[in-house]
């Protein structure tokens, strides 16, 4: 069992040697840099709400515009029909 204990000690030493000098400084820097880069919960919600509002606006606009166009086409067709009927009526007179 003594060799096993020695092996565990060697494992510990070998692992420790894999950490390059300045390890702690790098970790603290990385942790702080990452924390600043992570958006707050509020900003995530604000962005989601803004995106949802934009999407809703786009859908409403598209819907309104397409409905208006359909209505205009229908009206135009109606007027064209009236104009054609009037012309035909005038010719027959």
């Amino acid at each position: 069992m003594k060799t096993e204990t020695r092996a565990w000690e060697q494992l510990q030493r070998h692992a420790s040697a894999q950490l390059r000098p300045g390890f702690a400084d790098r970790v603290v820097r990385a942790a702080r840099a990452g924390a600043e880069a992570v958006p707050s919960l509020f900003s995530i919600f604000a962005l989601s709400a803004a995106t949802a509002a934009l999407c809703l606006l786009a859908v409403t606009l598209f819907n309104t515009t397409s409905r208006d166009t359909d209505e205009s086409d229908f009206n135009l067709a109606g007027w064209q029909q009236i104009a054609a009927d009037s012309e035909e009526f005038a010719v027959n007179l």
């Binding site: 096993e4 092996a7 494992l11 510990q12 894999q18 950490l19 390059r20 390890f23 603290v28």
Partner: protein, 182 residues
């Protein structure tokens, strides 16, 4: 791993919880070698030790303010380390499903003798045959943790820890062949 480990004073942990970078740095320096050994025992690869240790300490720095009992800092830190290592191994396993590489291409084993003595190679080989959870258990024992502390770390009962430890030791003995015995 040495069993007589120094513990960080509660004052240092409280300062780290308040976000003092010097205290956080001191804590990392105090535990970096022990965590590195712990990581190596579970992961089994030298080239991943620093990356995983860095990940563990970044998680520690970010979450330390949520630690309610500073006296249980060590149990908390080693639970964090254990979970990070096991997550890493799971992710690696999952990645292998989606990549066309065979495991032997992605996870080239370190050649024998490349990292240390025959004794260390024998131990690494034996640990490699165990489940990561059992490797973590043995590493916690080598860390000098008592059964009660391990139970807290693993959120388990002392009896369950003893039973699992017994089985893990049996498996290790089965696979550990001391070079001096050959």
């Amino acid at each position: 791993m040495e069993s007589s480990q120094s513990t960080a004073p509660v004052e240092l942990i409280l300062r780290a919880q308040r976000g003092e970078p010097d205290a956080q740095r001191e804590l990392i320096v105090a535990y970096q070698h022990r965590v590195a050994g712990f990581v190596y025992a579970i992961i089994g690869r030298s080239d991943s030790i620093e990356d995983i240790a860095q990940l563990i300490f970044i998680k520690m720095v970010r979450a330390i303010d949520r630690l309610q009992a500073p006296a249980q800092f060590e149990s908390w830190l080693f639970r964090l380390a254990r979970n990070t290592c096991i997550d890493h191994l799971r992710r690696q396993k999952l990645r292998r499903i989606f990549t066309p590489f065979a495991p032997e291409h992605e996870n080239v084993p370190e050649p024998s003798g490349a990292v240390g003595s025959e004794e260390l190679d024998a131990l690494r080989h034996a640990l490699d045959q165990l489940r990561p959870q059992d490797r973590a258990l043995l590493a916690l024992v080598q860390e000098g943790r008592s059964h009660a502390e391990i139970a807290v770390t693993l959120r388990s009962s002392v009896a369950a820890v003893k039973a699992r430890l017994h089985r893990a030791r049996e498996h290790l003995r089965e696979h550990y062949q001391s070079p001096h015995e050959n």
